[in-house]
């Protein structure tokens, strides 16, 4: 079983490295935010007498890379109906839950790798210094990636209609990102949006990275490190427990089986 899990994870990472174009575009996305949105807001805030917005964005941008990298990687397991790999996985002598958890682990590592790459770029560009707390930074990235991968896995096992990328963008990625404290502090949000942000596990990852990355942030973190970790851990455990349970249930698995194995002409 250990070998099987290692093989699944290694395959995910190998694929990420081979798809260079995708890797490059996943780096370009946060840089566009940094230079376009960041510059615009920075200018506006400077006019109001406050600066440093681009640096404030850094934890959010690292989280953004993790969100796209990990969430899409774990989602892809279901919405790629052409996937021959899924056929290989469902016929392997592995419990269903192990397949699910191994893919989640692979997706987590993809998010971490992409975030580390972006950190190097931001460091080279002068937008990121040495983290105040490197260990906490590593923990934060790992936890944020695991949250995003688990969220993708959870959506994947429940999704029938979510095969459209645009739907996932509009109803998952955008709300999760915008209502997380990545772009503005949660405390200034109106009550309803604030409640959503507090229920959003991604918010706590952004917050944890604010703790870890340093003193230069424009705004203070919203929560304590302990609260961040507890919220993320709770979400991951719940999400994966529900996902594994659902994935192992006959009807869900059977519809997957039929989708993956049924001949096209039927």
């Amino acid at each position: 079983m250990r070998r099987a899990i290692a093989a699944i994870v290694a395959r995910d990472l190998k694929r990420m490295l081979r798809q260079r174009g995708r890797l490059v575009s996943s780096m370009v996305r946060p840089l566009i935010w940094l230079f376009v949105i960041g510059t615009g807001f920075q200018g506006m805030l400077e006019g109001l007498g406050r600066g440093g917005y681009q640096r404030f964005l850094v934890p959010g941008l690292l989280s953004m890379v993790v969100l796209f990298g990990s969430l899409l990687a774990s989602l892809s397991m279901i919405y790629d109906k052409e996937s021959g790999v899924m056929r290989m996985l469902i016929i392997a002598p592995l419990p269903r839950a192990v397949v699910l958890l191994a893919r989640t682990l692979g997706a987590t590592l993809i998010g971490i790798c992409q975030a580390l790459l972006l950190m190097l770029i931001l460091f080279a560009l002068g937008y990121l210094g040495v983290p105040r707390d490197p260990a906490l930074c590593a923990l934060g990235l790992a936890a944020q990636a695991l949250v995003c991968a688990s969220l993708g896995t959870l959506i994947a096992v429940f999704s029938k209609a979510l095969e459209d990328f645009a739907v996932i963008m509009n109803f998952v990625i955008f709300p999760v990102f915008f209502l997380s404290g990545a772009l503005y502090p949660i405390e200034h949000l109106p009550d309803v949006l604030k409640a959503v942000a507090l229920a959003n596990p991604f918010s706590y990852g952004v917050d944890l990275l604010k703790h870890a990355l340093g003193p230069e942030a424009l705004f203070d973190p919203d929560f304590s490190v302990g609260k961040d970790l507890l919220a993320m851990l709770t979400f991951v455990v719940l999400a994966l427990a529900v996902a594994c349970r659902r994935f192992s249930q006959a009807p869900v698995f059977e519809s997957l089986t039929r989708a993956f194995t049924a001949p096209k002409r039927h």
């Binding site: 079983m1 070998r3 099987a4 290692a6 093989a7 699944i8 395959r11 190998k14 694929r15 081979r18 798809q19 021959g84 790999v85 056929r87 290989m88 996985l89 469902i90 016929i91 392997a92 002598p93 592995l94 419990p95 006959a250 698995f253 059977e254 089986t257 993956f260 194995t261 049924a262 001949p263 096209k264 002409r265 039927h266």
Partner: protein
């Protein structure tokens, strides 16, 4: 329960709401046998393979694969089987070798065993030159061969194949059958496959015909073809109804296939010269030939038996001639 049979099913059934995909299948396949399930689309062949490979749960009945209950020991079942789906179970982005190694690792074998086995399989299937080619760049025939190699990368005792030659040209179909023959002779693998190409199934030890989720007949190809009759008289005519009523008293009820009438006859019963002369106004062609599995298929679908005795093919009157 343990059983000497490689595959055993008892009243195995699967339905989706009101739709019955499989309606009580009783099947026994001995170890080392080359067994083909034949039938039209929707007859339950694919469902049978998916139940046996634990990808579906039966609605009723039981089944054992290599002695393991498909319901209570699905992991043990999957450990003993290889499965080749209609669509390849391969990663297009990985090379042929990487795919085999990935499949081997999924079964929990160590890296060295997996590597050696993968090399041997590439050789067995004539894919050594394609070793480092990404699957996306392989031809359809090579991909299918690789997919079968993938299916046996963990040395399963039983290999299930769903239409292994579908979508392939004649040459590649022949190559796949050669691979399967070699697999059986060199590794003693039990093979259970479904196919539409009846002429291909003639080389199997045993075939079973399925229709509407039921078994409607089984036996060795020779037995089944022999039981059909000594010869098949084939008359191609523009007026099938008229010709049929003309010939019925002598040769019995024909099987009508469009403008073709097929009669099961004994060798001495027909004088072709006489018949050609007699039917000159109606018949475009008259042939007397040995029956084959296609004929068995046609007759068995026309006259499905109420119950399914071993080797029972159809109505009485069939002269044994094998």
């Amino acid at each position: 329960m343990s059983t000497p049979a490689a595959i055993l099913t008892e009243g195995l059934a699967k339905s989706y709401g009101a739709v019955v995909a499989l309606a009580g299948l009783d099947l026994a396949i001995e170890a080392g046998q080359f067994f083909a399930l034949l039938g039209r689309n929707g007859s339950g062949k694919t469902t049978t393979l998916q139940l046996l490979s634990t990808l579906l749960r039966p609605s009723a009945g039981r089944a054992w694969v290599a002695g393991n209950d498909i319901l209570s020991a699905p992991l043990a079942v999957r450990r003993h089987i290889g499965m080749v789906f209609q669509e390849p179970a391969l990663d297009r982005n990985l090379t042929a070798m990487e795919n085999l190694r990935f499949a081997g690792a999924l079964s929990g074998h160590n890296a060295r065993t997996v590597r050696e086995r993968a090399s041997a399989l590439l050789q067995l299937f004539g894919l050594t030159d394609a070793r480092d080619t990404p699957v996306g760049a392989l031809s359809g025939g090579m991909r299918r061969a690789l997919d079968i190699a993938r299916g046996i990368s963990h040395r399963p005792r039983i290999l299930l194949l769903d239409e292994p030659t579908i979508g392939l040209d004649v040459q590649n179909r022949r190559a796949i059958w050669q691979h399967l023959g070699r697999l059986r002779s060199e590794e003693g693998t039990t093979l259970l496959l479904t196919t539409h190409h009846l002429e291909e199934a003639a080389g199997c030890d045993r075939v079973a015909f399925m229709s509407r989720g039921r078994l409607i007949g089984q036996g060795s190809p020779n037995e089944l073809v022999g039981a059909l009759g000594e010869y098949v008289l084939e008359v191609e005519t523009e007026s099938p109804a008229e010709t049929a009523s003309h010939l019925r008293p002598r040769f019995g009820e024909p099987l009508v296939e469009g403008e073709r009438l097929l009669f099961r006859v004994a060798g001495g019963a027909v004088s072709l010269d006489h018949l050609t002369h007699e039917l000159r106004a109606h018949a475009r062609a008259i042939r007397l030939r040995r029956p084959d599995l296609n004929d068995v298929y046609l007759w068995i679908h026309r006259d499905p038996p109420d119950d399914h005795p071993e080797g029972g093919v159809g109505p009485e009157g069939a002269a044994g001639a094998s």
